[in-house]
């Protein structure tokens, strides 16, 4: 509804007000006349008419007339233009000219309708800070004339990747365990998943959109076992696989297979394939590591980042042994780009532990602990320090 109204106003604030007014109007009119047969269409038409009235009052209509007005202003909007508008809104909120934190905040606020206060809490900033971030982003969209469109076919792959990155970040923000914030975080993961489904619906031929949905489905399938009853982080080998949602994993697998056979896989499809392989192993010991390593080889080619290299090193340790993996991890340490990334040190520590080099392992766990800011992970690392000291 907001999306259809933005099409009229080209101004997000005016659109938001028009939508809110439409809800208020609905309360009084529907109480009196009953709920209409197509309430969605009624609300959308009311919002658009509110927006048009505001524009007339501002007399900006005169200059913007050719751009804004659709011929059928009094009819209810066609059902198939509504998904189109939501897609436009998603692409606008995720425009690469906006700062990454702004993209994710704007998507939550405008596409998902999450309250500013809740967004602020999820990202651990003060509410006025988040409100200012949103205002700045909306100002930039208006002043710099970020167009309210679905990108052209030529630009689509790059732009879809930006949207998928935002949705993935949205999910992982909600996914990372933090004490006392569970309610807000569950909402974030749920919304990220909903948006991933919506994107798949609106872009049925996009293989990466399918890949992202599959990836989130696998994460979501395993969420019951991520931590134990005390909030302690559980490793993959400790998780009770009987509590994983097999229906979601099957759906993810179908999406992955379809995406892989349809063409050269992108980074989200590959990450989903790796996650699905992990999720389908009946036990940790039966994990198909050689196949996972092959997928990481491809992922590293397609997405050559140090984090991917690190995750690949873990697979190397399971296929070629911890010694070979340690060489790769030490090379990454030397490279310097992962300085301050505690998983690098935690992985190195784990490899040293497996090689029986306990003293060095303890040092590395200690170093990882020093830079980790996640309470569940800190507990886990502290335990490891004790074990290896």
């Amino acid at each position: 509804m907001l999306a259809a109204t933005v099409r009229v106003t080209r101004d997000l604030d005016t659109a938001e007000e028009a939508v809110q007014d439409a809800y208020v109007q609905a309360l009084t009119t529907w109480a009196r006349d009953g709920v209409p047969t197509r309430p969605g269409a009624w609300l959308t038409t009311a919002a658009r008419n509110n927006a048009l009235n505001v524009l007339r009052r501002r007399q900006t209509l005169v200059t913007k007339l050719p751009l804004l007005l659709e011929p059928e202003t009094t009819e209810a909007p066609e059902p198939d233009t509504i998904p189109d508008d939501r897609l436009r809104l998603i692409f606008t909120c995720c425009h690469p000219a906006l700062a990454p934190e702004a993209r994710i905040a704007l998507t939550l606020r405008l596409v998902c309708g999450v309250a500013t206060a809740d967004i602020a809490r999820a990202f651990l900033v003060a509410e006025p800070t988040m409100a200012a971030r949103l205002t700045r982003a909306k100002k930039k969209i208006a002043a710099a004339r970020i167009p309210y469109t679905v990108p052209s076919a030529a630009d689509l792959p790059e732009r879809v990747d930006t949207v998928l990155t935002v949705l993935h970040l949205l999910y992982t923000t909600g996914h990372t365990a933090r004490s006392g914030e569970d309610l807000v975080l569950d909402e974030l993961t749920g919304r990220a998943l909903d948006l991933a489904r919506l994107l798949r619906l609106l872009l049925p031929d996009d293989r990466e959109a399918a890949g992202l949905l599959a990836l989130l489905l696998v994460h979501h399938a395993r969420r019951a076992t991520r931590t134990d009853a005390h909030g302690r982080l559980l490793r993959l080998d400790e998780q009770d696989r009987s509590r994983w949602d097999t229906a979601s994993i099957s759906e993810a697998d179908r999406l992955v297979v379809a995406a892989l056979t349809a063409g050269a896989p992108g980074r989200f499809t590959l990450q989903a394939a790796i996650a699905a392989l992990h999720a389908q192993a009946p036990s940790y010991d039966e994990t198909d590591w050689p196949q996972i390593l092959k997928l990481y080889d491809t992922l590293l080619r397609v997405w050559p980042t140090p984090v991917v290299a690190l995750n690949r090193a873990v697979a190397v340790s399971m296929v070629d042994g911890p010694e070979a993996a340690l060489a790769e991890v030490e090379a990454l340490e030397h490279d310097g780009r992962l300085a301050g990334y505690h998983y690098l040190l935690a992985t190195k520590a784990d490899l040293l532990r497996r090689l029986g080099r306990d003293a060095e392992a303890a040092n590395a766990y200690q170093a990882a602990l020093a830079i980790s800011d996640n309470s569940a992970e800190r507990e886990f690392l502290a335990e490891r320090v004790k074990e290896t000291s």
């Binding site: 005169v62 200059t63 004339r145 167009p147």
Partner: protein, 117 residues
Amino acid sequence: MTQYLLSIYQPDGPAPSPEFLEPIMRDLKAFQRELRATGAWVFSGGLHEPSTATVVRAKNDEVLMTDGPFTEGKEHLGGFTIIDVADLDTALKWGRQLAAATTLPVEVRPFHDESPR
């Protein structure tokens, strides 16, 4: 249509060698040609180095003049192009092409809409 300023920032120091500049000048000329062909070109120009600048300041009834640029930094404004296009995506396409041609960062910034209502 909105006007955008495409500003080129270059590092201070001596000018690069002619061999280095030759492909850049070639790509820049191609950029200008294409821009003008679409009708999006409004104005463009390269600036002399910052030491050729003068800063003028008005204070009460006095006008103060200082030799040199307004800000001293490690980079300075080397030149700019003004374009008139439909939206930011179009402006960014030209900005990208200019950045690729010059091998320098290009800032793409919208002008206020000063057209009469």
